[in-house]
C-alpha cells in the first residue's frame, strides 16, 4: 500500500504545483479541483471517510464551481493573466531554498509532535451523547459549540456577501442548451434521496449533516446555475430565504435555552432527549448549510427591484 500512498502524494504535489506555478487562471482552477479529488482519496487512505465525503463535495465540486462562476463574470482580458508577471518568478533559486528550508523545519516539527489522543474519553462519553457515530456525536453534542460557531461564521459570510452588491444573475445556459433546466429538475429527487440517506446514516456511520448539506448544496447549485429556481432571486421570497438561512443557528440557540430551562446549564440536555434534539439540529443544520452554499453563488443580495 505504500506504493499507492506514494502515487497519491505525488499526484497531490503535481496538481498543487501546477495550480500555483503555471500561468493561466482557468488551468489553475482546474488543477485545484483535481487536487481536491486527490485529497479526498488521501482522506480515505487515512481512514477519515467523513472528511473524504465533505472534501469530494465541497473541496472539489463546490469551491471549483464557485471559482469558475466568478471567473466567468470577468472579461477575457482578466482571465488570462500574463505569464511573465505571475508565472514562475525570476528569483527561483532563493525561493527554492526557502521552500526546502520551510519544508525541513515543518517536517521536523510535525514528526516531533506529541500525539495526545482523546479516543478513550470520547468512547466513554458516546453512550450519553445521543448518536452512535463518534464524529456526529462530537459535532452535535460533545463539541457542539464548534458547530454553532461554524454555522455563525457561514451566516456572517452570507451577510457580508449580501452587503456588497446586488445579486449577479446566473449565466443563461438554457438559451443554447434548452433542456438543461429540465434535466436538473429531473435529477433533483435523487439528490434529495441521497441527502436523506446521509442524514439517516450519520447517526451510526460516516455521514451526517455536513456531507448531506454539501451534497444537497451541490444539487441546488446545479438548479441555480441552470436557472431552474427563480424564487431565490425574487423579492417576494426574500424574507422566507432569510428565515431558512437562519434556521440552523436558531435551532441551536433554542436547544441551548431548552437545556438552560430543563437542567439549569446551557446545553445541559437530559440524555434521554438528546437523541431527538440531535436529529432536529442535524436536519436544520444540513438545510441551512445547503441554502448558504447556494447563496454563495449569488455573489450579492437577491431581491432587488428590477
Amino acid at each position: 500500500m505504500l506504493v499507492v500512498d506514494l502515487l497519491l502524494a505525488l499526484a497531490a504535489l503535481a496538481t498543487a504545483g501546477q495550480c500555483l506555478l503555471l500561468p493561466g487562471l482557468f488551468r489553475a482552477v482546474a488543477n485545484l479541483m483535481a487536487f481536491g479529488l486527490v485529497m479526498a482519496l488521501i482522506w480515505v487512505r487515512l481512514e477519515a471517510p467523513d472528511v473524504a465525503l465533505a472534501e469530494a463535495a465541497i473541496g472539489a465540486g463546490i469551491t471549483g464551481a464557485l471559482l469558475l462562476t466568478a471567473l466567468g463574470q470577468l472579461p477575457a482580458s482578466q482571465r488570462d493573466i500574463q505569464p511573465a508577471r505571475d508565472g514562475l518568478p525570476r528569483r527561483i533559486i532563493p525561493i527554492t531554498i526557502l521552500v526546502l528550508l520551510i519544508t525541513g523545519m515543518l517536517w521536523a516539527a510535525i514528526l516531533g509532535l506529541p500525539k495526545p489522543g482523546l479516543v478513550e474519553e470520547v468512547a466513554t462519553l458516546l453512550p450519553e451523547s445521543g448518536a452512535e457515530h463518534a464524529v456526529t456525536a462530537l459535532l452535535l453534542n460533545l463539541r457542539g459549540i464548534d458547530t454553532l460557531l461554524e454555522i455563525t461564521v457561514m451566516l456572517c459570510a452570507v451577510a457580508t456577501i449580501w452587503s456588497l452588491q446586488q445579486a449577479i444573475p446566473p449565466p443563461t445556459l438554457s438559451h443554447y442548451y434548452p433542456g438543461l433546466p429540465t434535466l436538473a429538475r429531473w435529477l433533483h429527487p435523487l439528490f434529495l434521496l441521497m441527502f436523506s440517506y446521509f442524514l439517516w446514516q450519520g447517526t451510526h456511520a460516516p455521514g451526517g449533516a455536513f456531507p448531506a448539506g454539501a451534497l444537497l448544496g451541490a444539487g441546488g447549485v446545479l438548479l441555480l446555475l441552470t436557472g431552474s429556481i427563480a424564487w431565490m432571486y425574487q423579492r417576494a421570497y426574500n424574507l422566507l430565504l432569510r428565515w431558512l438561512l437562519a434556521a440552523g443557528l436558531l435551532l441551536f440557540l433554542i436547544t441551548a435555552l431548552a437545556g438552560l430551562l430543563m437542567t439549569g446549564t446551557l446545553y445541559g440536555l437530559p440524555p434521554r432527549l438528546a437523541g431527538y434534539f440531535i436529529i432536529a439540529i442535524e436536519v436544520a443544520t444540513a438545510l441551512s448549510i445547503t441554502l448558504m452554499l447556494m447563496t454563495f453563488y449569488l455573489f450579492g443580495r437577491p431581491g432587488a427591484q428590477q
Partner: protein, 106 residues
C-alpha cells in the same frame, strides 16, 4: 467463478482507459479530445463497474454500482456538450479538413 469473471471484466476495461488517455494527449483540439473522453472512458468505466457488480455481495450493491455508472454516463455526456458549446462560443472553432458545411457550428 464470480471473482474470476469480475476480474476479467475489470482487466478488459483498463485498455479503454489507456486508449482514452492516449487520445486525450494525441488529439489536436478540444472537440476531438472530448470524443475520446466521452465514448472510450464510459465504456472502460462501464466494464469496470460491470466487473465490480458481478463480484458484489448482494443485488442491491450491484444495482448501486450500475446506478453510479449511469449517473457518470449522464454527467459526462452532458458535460461534453456543455464544454463543446462553450468552446465554440469563446474558443477556437473546430479544425476541419475541408469546408463543405462551414457555418454549421456558429
Amino acid at each position: 467463478m464470480r471473482e474470476l469473471l469480475g476480474a476479467g471484466f475489470i482487466l478488459l476495461g483498463i485498455p479503454f482507459f489507456i486508449a482514452s488517455t492516449v487520445g486525450l494527449l494525441r488529439f489536436p483540439d478540444v472537440y476531438t479530445r472530448l470524443h475520446a473522453l466521452t465514448k472510450v472512458d464510459n465504456v472502460g468505466l462501464g466494464l469496470i463497474c460491470l466487473g465490480l457488480a458481478v463480484q458484489a455481495s448482494s443485488i442491491a450493491v450491484a444495482l448501486k454500482i450500475v446506478l453510479i455508472w449511469g449517473l457518470i454516463l449522464l454527467a459526462s455526456s452532458t458535460g461534453a456538450t456543455l464544454i463543446a458549446s462553450s468552446a465554440l462560443r469563446h474558443g477556437p472553432p473546430p479544425l476541419r479538413s475541408d469546408s463543405d458545411d462551414s457555418h454549421a457550428g456558429r
